[in-house]
Subunit: 225 residues, 2 copies
């Protein structure tokens, strides 16, 4: 088993059957020890959060599977903290797709003179390049096409999938008294098909419960209560 | 005649017939005395550039009129450096629309790891909010709609007009041995109709001639040679 990538929160290994294996680590993104799903640095390490994220991802991937939404998820080993996934190419040097149900974070930093923090948004979708030095620059559909990162068809498919998946996640969270404010996805492609890759875990979303932000470590507790 | 706005490069007056009058000033944007059409500060003052910009704008507005592309332009007084324009509301607190024929400037600062400076682009269009403190943040079509700044129909109309007008300007410049790299427009609306407002002058575009960037003060010399 060959390690092909060392990420901020995951390591990736190549399997002999052509699939890949994700190893979930105990690191979450943030700054100065404070959790921030939009941050580019590992902010803190929390024992057990890797397996907790994997369990949560499997939970959501299974719900998506039941809803006939194909993802890269194949199977998981909760004991060892690993997930087997389909092969998929990432767009460009890595692209993040954000779906916002409520305006907050970088959306407010950019557009705060147009909208108040916490204003509902209709599953608004935006894409940013993974580039720590440039602060993850926003890129438009036209930009992605001009830069040769994806086709208009791939973008439209990715945008529609993002809205659909975010709504499935929001619905599931709301069953457990939680409200999804925003969520970050990664997509990959395999030929013409665009599929959700990476994870669906607390470190990639902002979730509120009873008017307070839910700590990523607490989310599983509420979800699996 | 009531002054209704004092801008970086223009003052705006209200006329009694319901139209407005733009007074072109001798200030151009830039930083530390160096011309930069993307800058947010007045970088330098050049005697006569106001009237030169007006003359150039009138030249381009007349070409657009001949091509049946409606703009806010009504008439001009070259002696006094003023232009009469139709009333139009600006989008939000001011929006800039950039059309890029070649990748350079902020496009490279954002996406330089995907594309080289000077690479041709197919009249790529992007929009930024006028907000000096936030460094003119990029905003997508979905963002403009989510923020209630414009409708999808208005965006599509503005994008198509931007490409059309940029190509008219590029064609005219190429007749005089110049090459348009990028250009910045402002649009306004009057009911359902979206029209080009502001100016079409050297301070709003990057133009090359014989492999060198054309100084805004020299452009008129080449254009009216």
């Amino acid at each position: 088993m060959k390690k092909v990538y060392t990420g901020k929160t995951k390591n990736v290994y190549e399997l002999e059957n052509g699939n890949y294996m994700l190893e979930f680590k105990d690191d979450v993104t943030g700054e100065n020890g404070v959790f921030d799903p939009g941050a580019n640095t590992v902010g803190l390490s929390i024992e057990g959060i890797g397996k907790s994220n994997l369990k949560m991802s499997v939970h959501f991937f299974e719900i998506l599977k039941a809803a006939s939404i194909k993802t890269h998820y194949v199977s998981a080993d909760l004991e060892n903290g690993t997930m087997e996934v389909l092969p998929a190419k990432v767009f460009g040097h890595g692209l993040e797709v954000i779906c916002r149900m409520k305006a907050t974070g970088s959306f407010i930093r950019r557009y705060g003179d147009y909208i108040e923090d916490g204003t509902p948004l209709d599953a608004y979708v935006e894409t940013t390049f993974k580039n720590d030095a440039k602060g993850d620059p926003l890129v438009t559909e036209d930009g992605l096409i001009a830069l040769g990162v994806m086709s208009a068809e791939q973008y439209d498919s990715m945008r529609a999938l993002t809205k659909k998946i975010a709504r499935v996640v929001a619905d599931e969270l709301s069953k457990h008294g939680m409200e999804l404010w925003d969520i970050k996805f990664e997509f990959g492609y395999n030929g013409d098909e665009v599929i959700l890759i990476d994870e669906i875990a607390s470190g990639n979303m902002r979730v509120y419960k009873d008017g307070k932000i839910v700590d990523p470590m607490d989310m599983g507790k509420f979800l699996f209560a």
